[in-house]
């Protein structure tokens, strides 16, 4: 049996660790490239701006873009009574403003939250979810989404996406540049320069992949964190556990979801497209395995 509060603390620590490792990795890669290529802070800044511009739109208008992409309609207190009131209660309990609520007309059961901060937060559920879950199960799901909002997960993932984009750009430039500038590098100091060059090529080839894997690891950690926060919020982890069971056994894919929006949902909506098994396939998942999440929820008290 795990104490919910201890679990919450350990989840927070592990999230912080992943974030710290990620930042260290980005700084390290940036430093090696700068050192090797005389990039200077300027080039790193430019890469950051480029990567930032690409992600800024999704960060700032993300809520609207995603809602349009998913063809959602605003929730209505009469029509979606359970959804509306449960969200109202949990927003009150977690001391955040009431998020905007939307409903996607789709029989697949799923839900997601987005928005750059609690003031601009959006929680979205499918009609399939609202029909299949009873009130305590729905409470678990909404509490999970509200925890994402409270943890600023959308903001965190946007920043991480920007950094991953920056790494990808830098290594891309390095690989292109390295071919042409070899002549000028010859006069650099002997063995250290050679080792650095080797490391640089290695990093340039691998760092985009490594950065992406770290992003996915962070995404999975935030799911665990949101699960444990949801358990604290409702004091009833069984509700979320049962909801996850129902959502997981529902094999219907969500038509409006795609790879870009998949990480937002409570359970990966593209489940039918991924059939990989084992540890390696697990590395590329945005979500931890549902069975493991349910097991942890059931062990809480």
């Amino acid at each position: 049996m795990i104490n919910v509060y201890e679990l919450q603390d350990s989840n927070k620590r592990r999230s912080a660790l992943v974030i710290a490792v990620f930042i260290a990795f980005v700084l390290g890669v940036g430093w090696v490239f700068a050192r090797l290529f005389d990039y200077g802070p300027g080039a790193i800044g430019i890469a950051l701006i480029f990567a930032g511009l690409m992600s800024f739109a999704s960060y700032w208008w993300g809520d609207k873009v995603i809602l349009t992409l998913s063809r959602a309609r605003p929730a209505d207190r009469n029509r979606d009574f359970q959804f509306f009131t449960v969200a109202e209660n949990l927003a009150m309990a977690s001391q955040i403003p009431m998020p905007k609520l939307y409903v996607i007309e789709d029989t697949a059961a799923n839900a997601f939250a987005t928005g750059r901060d609690p003031r601009h937060a959006v929680v979205c559920a499918t009609t399939g979810l609202l029909q299949k879950l009873d009130r305590s199960e729905l409470e678990g799901v909404i509490a999970h989404e509200i925890s994402h909002i409270k943890n600023y997960d959308t903001r965190l993932m946007s920043i991480v996406t920007i950094l991953v984009g920056m790494i990808t750009l830098l290594s891309d430039w390095f690989l292109r540049g390295a071919r042409f500038s070899r002549g000028s590098r010859e006069k650099e100091e002997g063995s250290l320069g050679a080792i650095l060059l080797l490391v640089g090529v290695f990093l340039a080839l691998l760092s985009p992949l490594i950065a992406k894997l770290m992003q996915l690891a962070l995404s999975r950690r935030q799911e665990f964190l949101a699960d444990s926060s949801a358990a604290i919020l409702t004091r009833y982890p069984e509700g979320l556990a049962r909801a996850l069971e129902k959502i997981a056994t529902d094999r219907e894919p969500l038509e409006v979801a795609n790879k870009a929006t998949a990480h937002l949902y409570i359970v990966n909506p593209l489940k039918n497209l991924h059939s990989g098994v084992g540890w390696f396939a697990g590395l590329f998942n945005t979500h931890p395995p549902v069975e493991e999440r349910i097991r942890i929820l059931r062990e809480m008290r």
Partner: protein, 195 residues
């Protein structure tokens, strides 16, 4: 040297300022959550006459059940007048107990569940009960948070300076509030499963 002293004084002033604001904010939220408990209880009490009308004729010992409910309703109304958090919560517990037979009846009677207005009514009753529970929990959490700030160092110095007094909040059983709530939460799904 002088600059250093000024910087330290500035930091201390910032700390006092932000802590004062925090304490005042928590106090306001505590009052708001008490008010929320009151609002929801009032709403629930207003729903009761419709609810009893809807389930009339379904019970054998109708009089006793309805008498208990109207007694609980009276207790709620009295507590509302006094607006003391403890009285409100006690009254709401009484009300929950009185409403239990109606909830059980509703779960076991398909005819009742097919009537749209009654379903709506039951949903509203359940929601107000949930809201009372969450508001009560918010009140307990905030009070604990506030009281801890007031007694721990160094925030207790600031609290003393501005004369912040500990909040009474709600009396909680020694076992801890979350245990009690989870037991209460477990009850609702059980009713559904016993079908």
């Amino acid at each position: 040297m002088l600059l250093g002293i000024i910087a330290v004084l500035g930091l201390v002033a910032l700390y006092v300022w932000s802590l004062y604001n925090q304490l005042v904010t928590i106090k306001t939220r505590i009052r708001a959550s008490i008010q929320e408990i009151g609002n929801q209880l009032k709403r629930q009490a207003d729903l009761i006459p419709n609810l009893t009308a809807a389930v009339k004729g379904y019970f054998k010992q109708e009089k006793e059940i309805f008498a208990l409910i109207s007694e609980a309703r009276k207790a709620v109304m009295e507590a509302l007048k006094e607006s003391s958090a403890q009285k409100l919560v006690d009254a709401s517990e009484k009300m929950q107990q009185a409403l239990a037979p109606i909830r059980a009846l509703f779960e076991s009677t398909p005819q009742l569940r097919s009537v749209e207005p009654t379903v709506k009514l039951m949903d509203e009753v359940r929601d107000t009960a949930d809201k009372v529970m969450y508001a009560r929990r918010t009140l307990i959490d905030l009070t604990a948070d506030y009281n801890i700030k007031i007694v721990t160092f160094p925030s207790n110095l600031v609290a003393k300076l501005f004369g912040f007094k500990p909040e009474t909040g709600l009396k909680t059983p020694g076992e801890g509030e979350h245990l009690e709530v989870s037991a209460e939460e477990l009850k609702t799904p059980k009713v559904g499963e016993s079908l």
